[in-house]
């Protein structure tokens, strides 16, 4: 095939019927302040880990909410737990406990079976 310089974009549709939202319910039980997140991105802007690698808490929370399990797993272990996001978050999301909650949920849902 000749290369015309552009590709067909990957399908970005999210199928809620297929995505398990198990992680989300686990996380919400552990740290209910996940409901408060407005995806403003302040946390990602200040993130220590984000300075070194492609990691954003805003995105991670969205992925959890959407049940994109695989992507959650690749991103969930990059946080330094430094707590900057917690002080920056305008909504009072308890981010460090939230991240630990996501990790716990991943541990439970993916490794337990």
């Amino acid at each position: 095939m000749p290369d015309f310089g552009y590709k067909i974009a990957k399908d970005r549709q999210i199928d809620y019927d297929e995505n398990k939202r198990l992680i989300f319910s686990e996380v919400a039980a552990w740290e209910p302040s996940i409901y408060r997140c407005i995806s403003c991105g302040t946390c990602a802007a200040t993130c220590s880990a984000g300075q070194y690698t492609d990691y954003s808490l805003r995105k991670l929370i969205l992925l959890v909410k959407r049940g994109e399990e695989q992507e959650v797993i690749t991103n969930v272990s990059k946080c330094l737990l430094c707590g900057k996001c917690q002080l920056a978050c305008p909504m009072g999301v308890n981010t460090r406990n939230l991240i630990l909650g996501i990790q716990n949920a991943v541990k439970k849902t993916t490794y337990a079976v």
């Binding site: 990059k78 330094l80 707590g83």
Partner: protein
């Protein structure tokens, strides 16, 4: 031989107690790490044992530290512990004198009046009866206070008292009955057979006037014996295990034994030495300000002792260390909680492979700002300005990417992750060949100071400024304002740095004294140590701490920690400044000075003048 069936509950209970306690002690000492066992061996036949003995008398019997918390509470504990011991000792003496030096079975002194209701035949019997009655009054007054404490704890200085588990309730009830039953048994005996002194004889007469003493006294001796036996059987499983364990703990501590990184025999001793007195509940700001009443040390230690603990509870603690400083038993609560967190590290192992080696720069002094300082840029600017002003060849290590010092991971129980970060930072520090590391963040300071094991000294900026001031390398204007200083937990209780910040501040502002100061300073509520508290609850803690600090209406609230600053700023109308900002504001520029010192000479002078990692007490 003197014997009656009713002595059995007491005798069997006592035998059971002695066996269980000995076995427990043996197992705990056996479970000490090797290094700690060696320490114990070395200490046993030295003056340390004498010191321990004195401490046992002062603390386990007289409860000196509880007296300091509240005299009435101290009296309650003392009358029970010391009074009971007196009863036993004097009872022994009495029965020895009576039996011409022979001891007889161990229950005889306890039930002396039953076996010798009216011992007119022996010398000093009046005096003995009198003293025994007196001591009984002493003990009973303690029991009365204990009843009263359950109803109205405020009078004894406790706003909240411990909620107890069944084993405790059983032992407590038995204990409450022991002395009143003894009183009644002795009174009925003297009512029907004579003997006794001012208390038992008189009460016996009164009771005898409307009750059949001669029938009643025997069942009451039974009841007394049963309550003693019950107490002894329940003791090892209840909080009263603290009575024997506290003594062991004093010995171990004086031998230099301390908590390690994991659960050891010493941890068990500490857990069992907690008397659940509940003094730590009122000290904890989580209960005082935020209405969280189930996570305090007393419950944590209990959970760990009975292995019924949930992770969320152990993560819900500010790690502020206030309870450690008030615990009358001197338990290393923070150490035990940290062990618990280490054991049940939440979440998954982190993957930090994305962090590449840090760029390095040669310098004399490293300045490490830390994550929290990056959120308070004014502190960062002030620090850089002060460094520049004193012409010091410094390297701002985390100016670009800010790599965490590792303390937040450590506090969450993620030791492996902390180690990875420490290793990366340590490499950069060593390569820079710096002679000292300065940080303005107490969290980083504690970490670098205690965990990194660096070859160079680590200074909190307050120590560094104090050193510069001492050597006339820093000149500051007095600002003519008043300020109050807030001791950050990690710097004050955590690293025992109290003196230097005050020394620096005294040359800039008029310091006023808040209510809780120094070792008793409140936590700002922002602590990274607490993972699970909600932001609203945090704010409650912060507000209360802020109100306490601002009581005397100072013009500035100063602290030595970027996290404290950021936290207080949310609730305070009074400006909140870091020490660095204040120093920077009052700095007399060196540029106007005639001849600055030569660079290298000066840095050595500064560094030599600072006592490495000095820890100082409050003046």
């Amino acid at each position: 031989m003197l014997f009656d069936w009713f002595v059995l509950p007491f005798t069997l209970g006592l035998a059971y107690l002695l066996v269980v306690v000995s076995v427990k002690f043996y197992c705990w000492i056996k479970a000490l790490p090797y290094s700690e066992k060696q320490k114990l061996k070395k200490a046993i036949f030295t003056t340390k044992s004498l010191i321990s003995f004195k401490e046992i008398v002062m603390e386990s019997l007289l409860h000196r530290k509880i007296f300091k918390v509240n005299p009435l509470l101290g009296y309650m504990h003392m009358s029970l512990a010391f009074g009971w011991l007196l009863l036993i000792l004097l009872g022994n003496l009495e029965s020895r004198v009576f039996n011409h030096g022979e001891m007889g079975p161990p229950y005889v002194p306890i039930f002396f009046r039953f076996f010798n209701p009216n011992p007119t035949a022996f010398a000093f019997h009046h005096q003995f009866s009198f003293i025994m009655d007196l001591v009984l009054v002493f003990v009973l007054s303690g029991v009365a206070l204990a009843y009263y404490k359950r109803l109205n704890s405020n009078t004894l200085g406790l706003k909240r008292i411990t909620k107890h588990i069944p084993a405790d309730m059983l032992a407590l009830t038995a204990l409450w009955f022991i002395f009143p039953l003894r009183l009644l048994a002795e009174s009925f005996t003297s009512g029907s057979l004579g003997g006794g002194s001012f208390l038992t004889a008189n009460l016996g007469n009164v009771l005898n006037s409307f009750l059949p003493s001669e029938i009643l006294y025997y069942p009451f001796w039974w009841a007394y014996s049963v309550s003693l036996g019950l107490f002894f059987v329940a003791l090892p499983y209840s909080r009263y295990m603290h009575i024997p364990t506290e003594m062991l703990l004093i010995f171990l501590k004086n031998a230099g034994i301390e908590e390690q990184n994991s659960h050891s025999g010493f941890t068990e001793v500490e857990l069992n030495a907690c008397s659940r007195c509940g003094i730590c509940i009122d000290t904890c700001q989580l209960s005082k300000a935020a209405g969280i009443n189930n996570v305090q040390s007393v419950y944590q230690l209990r959970d760990i002792r009975y292995d019924t603990q949930d992770l969320n509870r152990s993560l819900n603690c500010l790690m502020c260390g206030r309870c450690d400083t008030t615990c009358p038993v001197g338990i290393d609560i923070a150490g035990i909680r940290q062990i618990k967190r280490n054991e049940s590290a939440p979440g998954l192992a982190e993957n930090y492979t994305y962090i590449k080696p840090q760029p390095v720069q040669h310098a004399d002094v490293i300045y490490f700002a830390g994550c929290m300082t990056h959120l308070t840029p004014s502190i960062k600017k002030a620090m850089v300005n002060i460094f520049k002003n004193s012409d010091i060849n410094f390297w701002f290590m985390d100016e670009q990417g800010s790599l965490c010092c590792g303390r937040p991971q450590l506090l969450a129980g993620k030791n492996q992750e902390a180690k990875i970060l420490m290793q990366k930072n340590k490499m950069a520090i060593e390569q820079s060949q710096a002679k000292a590391l300065v940080t303005n963040c107490p969290i980083c300071y504690k970490m670098f100071h205690e965990e990194y094991k660096l070859d160079i000294p680590v200074y909190h900026h307050s120590q560094y400024f104090a050193g510069l001031l001492d050597n006339n390398l820093l000149e500051l204007n007095h600002l003519n304002t008043s300020a109050v200083y807030h001791d950050p937990c990690e710097l004050g209780r955590g690293s025992k740095v109290y003196k230097e910040p005050r020394q620096v501040l005294n040359s800039i502002v008029a310091l006023n004294q808040p209510n809780d100061d120094g070792e008793k300073a409140l936590c700002c509520g922002g602590s990274l140590g607490n993972v699970s508290i909600s932001s609203e609850q945090r704010t409650l803690v912060t507000k209360q701490a802020c109100d306490t600090l601002l009581q005397n209406q100072p013009e500035i609230l100063v602290t030595g920690c970027p996290l404290c600053k950021k936290t207080f700023q949310k609730v305070s109308d009074t400006p909140v400044l870091d020490l660095a900002e204040l120093v920077n504001n009052s700095l007399i520029s060196r540029k106007q000075k005639p001849k600055p010192l030569k660079k290298l000479e000066k840095i050595d002078q500064v560094l030599n003048s600072l006592v490495p990692n000095q820890t100082a007490d409050l003046e």
